[in-house]
């Protein structure tokens, strides 16, 4: 049923991908390049989930858009099932949409409020000319059941549903063409906490039953930890730490990951030796238009050394099978202060 790739091959590969926007300062200011995503390399295996975490403006969503081919990278290459993703807008690109889908943060905005839920779930089938109208009706009924919506809700309009039901409808639409990859961009951030868990559980269940690969973008570390097989922590457009979620959340190696993990509210310590120690980051939140020299995190890093101001650390393997970009983990050639 699902479109699995040959074993071993990764479904989605981002190789040294960069995306530069041009921003303007002031009315007559010069254009300044804003590197939203900077040399990011990630892979997602079939049926697995890669979680991307980071604060606002760190390039998470842009990475998601690049992965889907909604935007073309300025550098590097995005490959899906071994093939480079065609430029957005073409016929080939449109065909590929059936195999990769996006789940949005704001389900009400992503749904057309003038069409019923059933019509919208059937839309991808109509676009890609899958099945006869009768088949599509059966398919829509099955999809509604898969995402846990009552069949009669198909006749409702988006504004007549609750937030959780809308997100389920968006998910049903994304699953209609049986995609191999689902990019979830903050899929539960707009939802009530009690509904979040239901939607997250449903996502993992659907992944198990359909073998869908997921790119799960969120700033909520608890949710990412729950769904991901791999986690990448992003800061100012770069991946600073990547690896197994249990390892990263138990013993974060990068100072930024440590700060993020320490910010997870826990009634009792279950996060390793650091326990309840809370690292509060000081300094300005990152601005991609004005990137600090050296390691982008050094102005806010409590452990910064001289090398951090001069040289940007590279993402290199560290213990526990993870990748870390930090001079403290990999001392730069030369003296260690």
């Amino acid at each position: 049923m699902s479109l699995l790739e040959p074993a071993g091959a990764s479904l989605l590969e981002l190789e040294g991908v960069s995306r530069v926007y041009s921003g303007r300062r002031g009315l007559l200011g010069r254009r300044v390049p804003v590197r939203a995503v900077d040399h990011v390399s990630l892979t997602v295996a079939p049926g697995r989930t890669l979680g991307i975490v980071g604060e606002s403006g760190c390039g998470k969503s842009t990475t998601g858009r690049l992965a889907l081919g909604l935007e073309a990278p300025d550098q590097g290459q995005v490959r899906f099932a071994g093939q480079p993703i065609p430029p957005p807008g073409g016929a080939e690109w449109r065909r590929l949409r059936a195999r990769m889908q996006l789940v949005y943060q704001d389900p009400l905005g992503a749904l057309d409020r003038r069409l019923t839920i059933a019509t919208q779930i059937a839309e991808p089938l109509a676009i890609h000319a899958i099945g006869t109208p009768a088949d599509r009706r059966d398919r829509v009924a099955a999809l509604l059941g898969d995402v846990g919506l009552r069949a009669d809700l198909g006749g409702r309009y988006p504004h007549e549903l609750s937030g959780g039901q809308r997100q389920r409808a968006v998910l049903a639409r994304a699953l209609a063409t049986d995609p191999a990859l689902l990019v979830c961009d903050e899929p539960v951030s707009a939802l009530d906490v009690s509904i979040q868990a239901q939607v997250v559980n449903m996502l993992t269940d659907l992944q198990d039953s359909r073998g869908i690969a997921m790119l799960f973008i969120s700033h909520d570390l608890k949710v990412v930890r729950q769904v991901s097989h791999q986690v990448a922590v992003m800061y100012l457009g770069r991946v600073v730490e990547q690896g197994d979620p249990e390892a990263i959340f138990a013993t974060p190696a990068h100072p930024y990951s440590r700060a993020l993990v320490s910010a997870i509210p826990t009634p009792r310590s279950s996060l390793g030796p650091r326990g309840r120690e809370r690292i509060v980051l000081t300094g300005d939140p990152p601005n991609p238009a004005n990137r600090p020299a050296g390691c982008a995190f050094h102005p806010r890093c409590p452990l910064a050394i001289a090398a951090c101001r001069a040289e940007a650390p590279e993402l290199r393997p560290a213990d526990g099978g993870r990748l870390v970009a930090c001079h403290l983990v990999h001392p730069p050639s030369g003296s260690f202060a």
Binding site: L68, L70, R94, R95, L96, R97, A98, Q101, L102, Y104, D106, G109, A110, L111, D112, R113, R114, L115, E123, P124, I127, H128, R156, Y157, H159, E160, L161, S162, R173
Partner: protein, 288 residues
């Protein structure tokens, strides 16, 4: 919680209760359209038939007779007959021009929103040109160069107000593309035609309809103005504007010549506005 609330109040779309004002407006528009279609059968006299012995006869109730229910003009022509035929002419011009303006403006607005870049620059330049050029001068020069014929006149009136539609369509389409449903549908793999006609247009139709109901009265008034200047509908054809124009001279002695078409203009434009407003609300499923 919300489930219970929703179950208790199923979407009631069956019973539609029309407000009294809308019913009146609807009735008037039906009447106007019926007159426009059946003018030749309804009119008691030819619009050019002179009755010189009954010149400037007042309407029934003001000293007139049933032979000329709305009185006669300075040449003894029946005002009712002329009114019926004028309604047909003015409705034809106003509807034709409004449809042309709406289609032209929306198409250009969508093209600008879709292609951006130089296409958008050209469309915006045309809009600015249209806005900076007094329309009357444009109309005068076109009519002076190409002469006057009814299709040309309707086409010319269609150029009035397209810029507003284009601006609205462009702005709303860009907004829809940037975030939300249009981007979502494109992401599903839909072709631009499907995105714009299937999703963007129905969503912004409410605004465009209101815009169209604003330009309908404007076209009626513009047609009246041009006809009054002698550049619009040419005698022996007649329109509401022509009637007002020629009736103006007799305003003090025979006000009915001017009042009959004026009343029709006011009631028709008011009805169109009322209907447009109501239609906008009805077309929006989130308002109930």
């Amino acid at each position: 919680m919300s489930d219970i609330a929703l179950a208790a109040a199923p979407p009631g779309r069956a019973a539609v209760r029309l407000p009294a004002g809308v019913v009146a407006a609807l009735a008037w528009m039906v009447l106007i359209l019926a007159v426009a279609l059946l003018a030749d059968m309804l009119r008691p006299y030819s619009i050019t038939a002179l009755d010189l012995r009954a010149r400037l006869t007042p309407p029934v109730g003001f000293g007139g007779t049933l032979a000329h229910p709305l009185g006669t003009d300075e040449l003894g022509r029946d005002v009712l007959s002329r009114l019926l035929v004028s309604i047909r002419m003015s409705v034809l011009i106003a509807f034709g021009a409004t449809v042309i303006a709406a289609v032209l403006g929306t198409t250009l607005g969508f093209l600008a929103a879709h292609f951006r870049g130089w296409v958008e620059q050209v469309v915006l330049m045309l809009i600015d040109f249209q806005a900076s050029m007094p329309f009357l001068i444009l109309a005068l020069s076109v009519l002076a160069f190409f002469g006057n014929s009814l299709p040309l006149f309707i086409g010319l009136m269609g150029l009035h107000g397209w810029d507003r539609h284009a601006r609205i369509a462009r702005g709303l389409a860009i907004a829809a593309n940037a975030q939300g449903y249009a981007a979502a549908v494109r992401q599903l793999g839909a072709r631009p035609l499907r995105v714009y006609l299937g999703h963007v247009l129905p969503n912004i139709a409410a605004t465009l309809i209101v815009s169209a109901t604003l330009s309908f009265p404007e076209v009626v008034l513009l047609e009246s103005g041009l006809s009054f200047l002698g550049l619009g509908v040419q005698p022996p054809m007649t329109s509401l504007g022509t009637m007002v124009g020629y009736g103006r001279e007799y305003l003090t002695r025979a006000a009915w010549i001017l009042l009959a078409p004026s009343t029709v203009i006011v009631l028709t434009t008011l009805s169109v506005s009322l209907l447009g407003d109501w239609l906008r609300d009805r077309l929006d499923p989130t308002l109930s």
